[in-house]
Symmetry: C2
Subunit: 252 residues, 2 copies
DNA sequence: ACCTGAACACCGTTCAAGT
DNA sequence: ACCTGAACACCGTTCAAGT
């Protein structure tokens, strides 16, 4: 019952017996203090386990064992919460040291990283889309893309607009993926998406297409349904990077 | 008070006096019958005048002078309503007769048309993003893009994946624009967006950037903030089309 | 067959009152 | 300074009852 008391720990490290007194960490006294940190942590955990739609000011408050009003002491509103979440995620981006010889592959790597971050944090893409990116985390992505492109000889104007285009595309992809996931496991939340079920649904959809109205979609149904999200993303990254190289001089 | 009675109209057409009895159109008897048509019309009008967020099953019902439950007789749910709305909009796409010589310009034209449709129907991009496109209207865009690309010698696989990429990018642009509009005139809804105010806010944002953390964003602030939505869209369309041409053979 | 009032289980946000 | 109960003005959807 000694809530909040100092904690001791002892263990054997080889021949030595170690005994430390841990600093008085808040270890759940009746009520742990609410902080932005804790709110964002909990929001991310909730989003990861139950999806974006499961995160509301009220459900979040309940997860923190308090009432919705308490959150407004630390977070201006729902919008700012979303912003804090995607900021936290964007900080994990690792921008490579620009290498002029390999700018194209480096740029693709950053795009892949962005996609992976959205993927690892299901629902985060929806939070990213719902806002105009203004926070430090999102700015780092832009700074990194600029560095890679400029080092690679891309004109600054083309590189600058590419930051926009890339961010928009990647978040849209993440958003779309989250829709499939949400739809597919609306019954069993928190599960991995069942790619086979999704594919089956897709194929079904294409088979029902009236050929008189959509001759080409019918003819090229195999191409339209070919590949998974990975393949399509690689294609898109390829198009974006090749396109950037192709038009760079026009926007000098 | 003769609700629902036949209507007569007479007028002078040159020397002739014309008198017609109009067919008994439902002209608002106590209650006009609810139809999908009327529901979608009203939803689009509401969205255009007050934005996507102003359209709810309840507000829509009120605009139709009924209760929310009545809508469910004609529309499965909110999701289907969104689908019907963007289907209606997508039908307005005019696919050009494919001309192999000018496939690139034709493809850009279709992208511009898509962007313009979202722009003309504020909020529709948000409805488009919120769903996996499955309806006839959206399929027409894909059919048209395939026709133009294949005529232009693009490999079917690259063309097929381009349909995805293009739709995703254009709807994301529309979505982002709707966020600015909504933010900017949250006080005065239904107004044209104030581009100067938006630009001023953007510039302000860039000026506050710490140069130690973001040397390139600071150095290239003019490029980062250059151009309006139109310029950026033209750049993106250029990148996408040039990129498609560049990678087409790789995805044969 | 179509419509509807009332209810259910939710939202975000505010504010006065508490510690 | 921080927290909170209660309230306000909303959501989407269902269902039994009405015409």
């Amino acid at each position: 019952m000694s809530a909040g008391g100092d904690r001791e720990r002892t263990w054997q490290a080889g021949p030595v017996r170690v005994r430390v007194t841990l600093p008085r960490r808040e270890e759940r006294p009746p009520k742990e203090r609410l902080t932005r940190e804790r709110i964002v942590d909990t929001a991310m955990a909730l989003m990861a386990s139950k999806g974006y739609d499961a995160v509301s000011m009220r459900s979040l408050a309940k997860a923190l064992d308090t009432g919705p009003a308490s959150l407004y002491q630390h977070v201006a509103n729902r919008d700012e919460l979303d912003q804090l979440v995607i900021d936290r995620i964007a900080r994990q981006l690792e921008i490579p040291e620009p290498d002029p010889e390999h700018w194209a592959e480096q740029l693709k790597d950053v795009l892949r990283q962005m996609r992976d971050l959205y993927h690892e944090h299901p629902g985060s893409a929806r939070a990213a889309m719902a806002q105009i990116p203004t926070m430090e985390g999102s700015m780092r992505a832009a700074e990194g893309i600029m560095a890679i492109c400029v080092a690679g000889g891309i004109s600054p104007q083309a590189a600058a607009w590419m930051c926009d285009l890339a961010a928009l595309y990647v978040s849209a992809v993440g958003y779309e993926e989250s829709l499939w996931v949400q739809r597919q496991n609306s019954t069993a939340p928190g599960e991995e998406p069942d790619h086979e079920a999704i594919d089956a649904e897709m194929v079904e959809l294409w088979n029902q297409l009236p050929p008189e109205l959509f001759p080409l979609l019918t003819k090229y149904a195999p191409e339209m349904t070919a590949g998974d999200g990975q393949d399509r993303f690689e294609f898109a990254a390829d198009v974006l990077v090749s396109g950037l190289a192709a038009v760079s001089e026009k926007y000098r």
